[in-house]
């Protein structure tokens, strides 16, 4: 039987706001104050760097990134540089992995959900165990995955699936530390527009199936931290 879980779809959220709110939810999940929760959103342009990122993998100067309207953030997930921006579905599952945290199994399930989403819109994608975690179309990455476990048992961060992402942003970084692999998107693959709005319902369905969750909307008080100006 599916486990009751919450779904939060706050729209476009600045990275710092979402990151802080996500960490707070993870702390609540850690304390069993809330059920498993999945956040699906978009970010304004931002490069994020995991702990394994190397400084020279950011190819644009910070001034250049800023001039283009982007941000650079060093964060606490696994993996190296990636890009988030409009046209990309970002998913942050905040799941309790229980007392037998199998991080590899979790990553494989995330990939599975994304592969099913891609298949639904007509893009055949796959894992590339020989290269890296993530979801690939041939040699190009369509979905980056980077995860952190809080106290080794609650998941943080997640996946970023390119729907109609402006891929030129990826020229600003060595994405995922792999210079020989490029980015792609669903729209890029199909030659027609696949929007975030098209993909969100698919993401909801496949995450629900793969992780055996039954989604309900989260109560407003857990959504409001994702809003920018929410208090006086």
């Amino acid at each position: 039987m599916p486990v009751p879980a919450w779904l939060i779809r706050p729209g476009t959220v600045p990275y710092d706001v979402a990151n802080a709110a996500m960490h707070r939810l993870a702390e609540l999940r850690l304390d069993d104050e809330i059920p498993d929760t999945v956040i699906l959103l978009e970010h304004p342009p931002v490069f994020t760097a995991g702990r394994r990122a190397k400084v020279d993998e950011l190819l644009w100067s910070p001034e250049e990134v800023e001039a283009r309207g982007g941000l650079v953030r060093m964060i606490d997930r696994g993996g190296s540089f990636t890009y988030h921006g409009p046209g990309q579905v970002v998913g942050y599952p905040i799941l309790g992995l229980g007392s037998r945290p199998d991080a590899v199994d979790y990553l494989r399930r995330l990939e599975e959900a994304v592969i099913r989403i891609c298949a639904d819109v007509g893009v055949a994608s796959e894992r590339r165990a020989d290269v890296q975690t993530g979801v690939w179309v041939g040699d190009d990455k369509i979905c980056a995955i980077g995860v952190r476990l809080m106290r080794a048992r609650v998941t943080l961060h997640g996946f970023a699936l390119n729907c109609e992402t402006d891929l030129s942003w990826f020229r600003g970084i060595v994405a995922c530390g792999l210079p020989e692999h490029g980015p792609t998107s669903l729209s890029d693959q199909l030659g027609r527009r696949v929007s975030v709005a098209d993909v969100l319902p698919l993401a909801e369905r496949h995450l629900s199936e793969v992780f055996d969750l039954s989604f309900q909307p989260a109560p407003g008080e857990f959504v409001s931290p994702f809003q920018v100006a929410d208090a006086v």
């Binding site: 696994g78 229980g98 007392s99 037998r100 979790y106 106290r151 008080e221």
Partner: protein
């Protein structure tokens, strides 16, 4: 002494890199406190301590990659009494204190912990105790699903029962689906009379090393954890005080005719529209007009630009049980006083019922706070960024005022504004407030209220 090893976070993971030690030799640690961070392929994780104690020795340098199972750290437990006492109650397993020595957070030790599943049960610490001793736990292991979250989801009833009876949920074996703790499980413990003993024994392990407020809280103090909404408010307020150049201006407004008007129409209004008429919608209307007249107050600072909004979305500060929230009357410039009154009544009611939609607390171009009902006569609010001003409407009180060189008694109110001096100057702020004052003193709201 407990040895902490590189945990196995998945069958195919054979090694991990120590990213960062979070504790140094000699530091004291709590159970479940993060000891270090490791990195494997795409996953970083904190590794929590299975026991409370003192770090005796760190065996591996940061940045080193080692195979799963490698000893990384040694922790001395204070006399082994504390952890034993903690788990001794319900599980009554003397082995529990020493158990994690073998494989903290490993695949093999995990299952039983799911069966215990609780907020307090650190996966690395709890597992071996019930597996070694308790029959119900062993049963539960068989039904534990691949992933354990359902064992960690507790019903509100279970949570409440446990709290009322001071039960440590970590000590209660779950017999429900997927190792979930059911009401029956909790009732069994309560009726067995072990509740108090467990709670009493558990307390000492938490108290000594708690780094949070515990030490400063004396007898008669109540320690309440900061809620996430409280924290959100705190961060928002602090960011505003640190990020704006706040100044404050106040005007006195004679609202005698508004008080009389309200007295006259309030019953009919309530009957006709189903809501109480207050002064707030009138203040909103008067303020909207002033914002349209002085658009620099209805603006935000965006880098090198000042963005003037050509519409008014009025944020209304509403207090409710969880703290403070600012629902937004969207398109307030297109509403009459009745429309504003309806909108505020609806938003406030749903705010207090926790039913606001996300977009209903977004996009305010200006904000009004209304502490008057509680009796305050002047307030200095903090600006609700990215707004550049917030207007405070305080209590209406009868005061002696000088009118045409005679002293008269009038209903007066102080209306003030905190404003961001980066965008607004004093002259503009004062002109703006004067306009609000003039509107309130001269407008005839009777028609607008359908009276």
């Amino acid at each position: 002494m407990t040895s902490i090893q590189m945990p196995q976070l998945g069958e195919t993971i054979v090694e991990g890199t120590i990213l960062k030690w979070l504790k140094r030799e000699g530091d004291s640690v709590d159970r479940d406190e993060p000891l270090f961070e490791i990195s494997t392929d795409k996953v970083d994780t904190e590794v929590p301590s299975p026991v409370a104690g003192t770090v005796r020795k760190i065996l591996v340098d940061e940045g080193t990659t080692v195979p799963v199972g490698t000893a990384l750290m040694e922790i001395d437990e204070p006399g082994a009494a504390a952890p034993d006492a903690a788990s001794g109650g319900a599980a009554s397993s003397p082995a529990s204190g020493a158990a994690p020595t073998t494989e903290p957070a490993s695949e093999t030790s995990g299952g039983a912990a799911s069966s215990e599943g609780s907020s307090a049960a650190p996966p690395a610490a709890a597992p071996v105790a019930p597996a070694a001793a308790s029959a119900p736990a062993a049963e539960a292991v068989a039904t534990v699903p691949d992933r354990g979250p359902r064992s960690q989801i507790l019903s509100p009833l279970v949570r409440r029962l446990a709290k009322e009876h001071d039960l440590d949920l970590a000590q209660i074996p779950g017999t429900g689906s997927g190792g979930r703790i059911t009401k029956a499980d909790v009732m069994a413990v309560i009726s067995s009379g072990e509740a108090r003993a467990t709670a009493g024994a558990a307390a000492p392990t938490i108290a000594p090393a708690q780094p949070m407020p515990a030490p400063s809280a004396g007898i008669g103090d109540e320690v309440v954890p900061v809620s996430h909404i409280r924290r959100a408010i705190a961060e928002h307020m602090l960011a505003s005080t640190q990020g704006t150049a706040r100044a404050w201006t106040m005007v006195e407004v004679n609202v005698d005719h508004l008080v009389k008007l309200r007295e006259r129409v309030k019953d009919a209004f309530q009957e006709r529209y189903g809501i109480k008429i207050t002064y707030l919608p009138m203040v909103v209307r008067a303020t909207v007009d002033a914002l349209l007249e002085y658009p620099d107050v209805n603006a935000r600072l965006d880098g090198e630009n000042i963005v003037r909004h050509r519409f008014v979305n009025m944020g209304i500060a509403v207090s409710y049980d969880a703290g403070l929230i600012v629902p937004v009357v969207k398109g307030a410039d297109g509403m009459n006083t009745i429309g504003v009154a309806r909108s505020i009544a609806d938003l406030a009611a749903r705010a207090r019922a926790h039913q606001l939609q996300p977009d209903e607390v977004q996009g305010a171009t200006f904000t009004i706070t209304n502490p008057g009902p509680y009796g305050s006569v002047a307030s200095v609010p903090i600006i609700n960024q990215p707004n550049v001003g917030i207007l405070s409407f305080d209590a209406i009180v009868k005061r002696p005022v000088v009118i045409d060189d005679a002293i008269a008694i009038r209903s007066m109110v102080n209306i003030s504004m905190s404003w961001d001096h980066r965008v607004i100057d004093g002259e503009l702020a004062t002109r703006f407030l004067a306009r609000v004052k003039q509107n309130l003193e001269s407008w005839d709201f009777a028609e607008d209220l359908g009276a």
